[in-house]
């Protein structure tokens, strides 16, 4: 960083800036996706990109997610750095084959990697129903070769996206749409914001209980932690995973060994969710340090519903996190 100047930046602008800066610095970086050029992206992330970078680097494609990801893989084989946009991350499903069978296994099978980024808006809370609200990370969690990123802060969204574009492997980059315009941070106006993949961060320090979470749940967890501190006097540590694969097990285990209590919070449904994997890893590496059973606060095991009453029921809330935290602290 060359100066101390900062500017208020939203989560969405941070993503736009990461894309812009990488595309300006490296002419092999290009984007492809639906409505990203002329329209500027469904959420306007790429507004103005077509004018600045031209149609060879900002490519409007047919509605064909498999072909989008396929083309990204081929371009990556040829030394380009593709950033493929899924208009909503739910639409990654039609590209599943290309991701898990072609991109993820390419280096292993052939020695030729597929360094590409597939990014798109994920997550619920925007009243968007079953097909514009999902958290898809667990669909891909069981596929070696993939990396997955789910930033919560604008700083991390920017720094991790830049790292993802430079990464030699396929990276799924989950942008939480609820955070796009709600999160505003002072980000440096000069110098490079770059956050390495695979490193969790402590969002809020504490020694009485560890909450491991990511994405929009980082803020709900932090609010819950503040309440527990104010009302009960206990200090809850909130760890923001930032990267889901590779998972920063070391940071989780270090915190749990210190606090002896673990709560995992995520927005994806419970069964087969990341909380299960984290629980297993902590049991293997920190069992003797646990003073209480591990608990999970997650979405319920249903599709994401549409009506506000239903969606609020579906999503983990601050109260749910506070209740689980109190249970663990009392155990």
């Amino acid at each position: 960083m060359t100066s101390g100047e900062t500017r208020e930046t939203t989560y969405l602008t941070a993503i736009r800036e990461a894309l812009q800066e990488e595309m300006r610095a490296d002419e092999t970086v290009f984007m492809l996706g639906e409505d990203i050029g002329v329209y500027g992206g469904a959420f306007k992330v790429t507004e103005g990109f077509l004018e600045e970078f031209g149609p060879d680097r900002v490519i409007d494609t047919p509605i064909s997610e498999a072909a989008i990801v396929g083309a990204a893989i081929g371009a990556a084989h040829m030394g380009l750095k593709p950033v493929a946009e899924m208009q909503f991350i739910d639409f990654i499903a039609p590209a599943f084959d290309m991701i898990v069978n072609f991109a993820a296994k390419s280096r292993y099978r052939t020695g030729i990697g597929a360094g590409l980024v597939i990014r798109g808006p994920c997550g619920a809370g925007a009243r968007s129903g079953p097909f514009h609200s999902q958290s898809v990370e667990s669909y891909f969690a069981n596929v070696p070769g993939l990396k997955m990123v789910a930033p919560a802060r604008a700083y991390d969204a920017k720094g991790l996206l830049r790292a993802a574009i430079r990464d030699p492997d396929p990276v799924l980059f989950f942008e939480h749409k609820f955070l796009y315009r709600r999160i505003k941070e002072e980000l440096p106006t000069e110098g490079e914001v770059l956050v390495p993949l695979g490193e969790a961060r402590t969002h809020r320090p504490g020694n009485d209980l560890t909450i491991v979470t990511y994405g929009a749940m980082v803020f709900k967890s932090a609010d819950a932690a503040d309440r527990v501190a104010a009302e009960d006097g206990s200090e809850v540590e909130v760890i923001d995973l930032r990267t889901l694969r590779p998972l920063d097990t070391k940071s989780i285990v270090e915190s749990v060994r210190r606090t002896g209590r673990l709560l995992i919070v995520h927005e994806a449904p419970r069964f087969g969710g990341f909380a299960g994997e984290i629980t297993a890893q902590v049991c293997e590496e920190a069992f003797e340090w646990l003073d209480a059973p591990i608990r999970r606060v997650t979405a319920i095991d249903t599709p994401v519903p549409y009506a506000p009453t239903l969606e609020d029921y579906y999503l983990p809330g601050e109260d749910d996190i506070v209740s689980a935290a109190r249970w663990l602290l009392a155990y």
């Binding site: 064909s64 072909a67 290309m98 069978n101 030699p168």
Partner: protein, 373 residues
Amino acid sequence: MARGSGISLYQDGHLKALDRRDMRSLYRLLWLTRALEERLEIIFKQGHVVGGLYRSLGQEATAVGCGYALSDGDWIAPSIRDLGALLARGIEPRDILRQYTARGTSLCAGKDNTNHFTVPELGILGPISPLGTQLCVLNGVALSFRTRGEPRVCLTFQGDGASRTGASHEGLAMAAALNLPIVVVLEHNRWAFGTPSTAEAAVENWADVAGAYGVPAVTVDGNDVLQVYDAAAQALARARAGDGMTIIVSETYRMLGHAQHDGQRYVPEDELIEWRDHDPIRSFEIYLVEFGFESETSLAEVRARVAAALDVATDDVLAEPYPAPGEARSRVYGNAELDAAIPWTRGEVPGYEGLVRARPSATRATTRQSQGA
């Protein structure tokens, strides 16, 4: 072009460019394809092939004709029955033998089989087993050519069966919409595993599918290597000129079952007899002799040299080892430290000795027994 029409001598510019040496090369590639597959069948029966074996008997001319029409720097993505195209691109018989026998020296280092290798130096993109997908990926290669302003082009194959997948449709739609420099060869070989193409699609004339994508299609006798070469050369030139995708429909026939385990009892005998009379290699031999390019003796010499080379390659490859077991966890990621961090999930669990000393299992067993009693 109706099937069974025999070799046709094209008199346009493309074929005039083929000289005696080209004719020899084409014949050698055709014969090498067949002889190598026969060799694979022998070592399959001897138990040396680890997985399945897929042959291209009867379809060799389509693969060889297309592969031979490509230039240096172009890229190709084969389907499972396009061995001849890979040989035309410079893949060696021992590369194929190593793939099928899972040698550590193989292009996939023993991690994948058949023709699933990607070799950038030779412009080869390996397919994967879910069909139609390699077209989507090859589109990205073609896109990179266009972005960089390079006069390079791509060619890929799909069977009539593969052409029914969503990936195939999406790949065709994108290649056409983006006007990519690519040629798609639709191999109408009549069978998709055990299902006839008439049950795969309500398409009578397979060139009609091109209309849905707004691109031209040309139908060729896929068992006529010169006709295939000619169509491929023209389509590649069209792509190279920036005029976009062409679909070549190759009318051909899969003369064996889907794989070695498939005795193709579902195939009508009269169909096989009819197509056997239209064998792409025998037809070409007759043509070469009739038009004075070769004699039966010179062709026999080519075949003998191929056989001798295959003897050596087979002996060499069978003497090579499988990969070391620990290689199973290499090159999953681009960062070696991530490969190293992949947890080992079996075998001895660290700290066991300490646990046994602290809480001897004999004591626990005794305790349980006494509690149970």
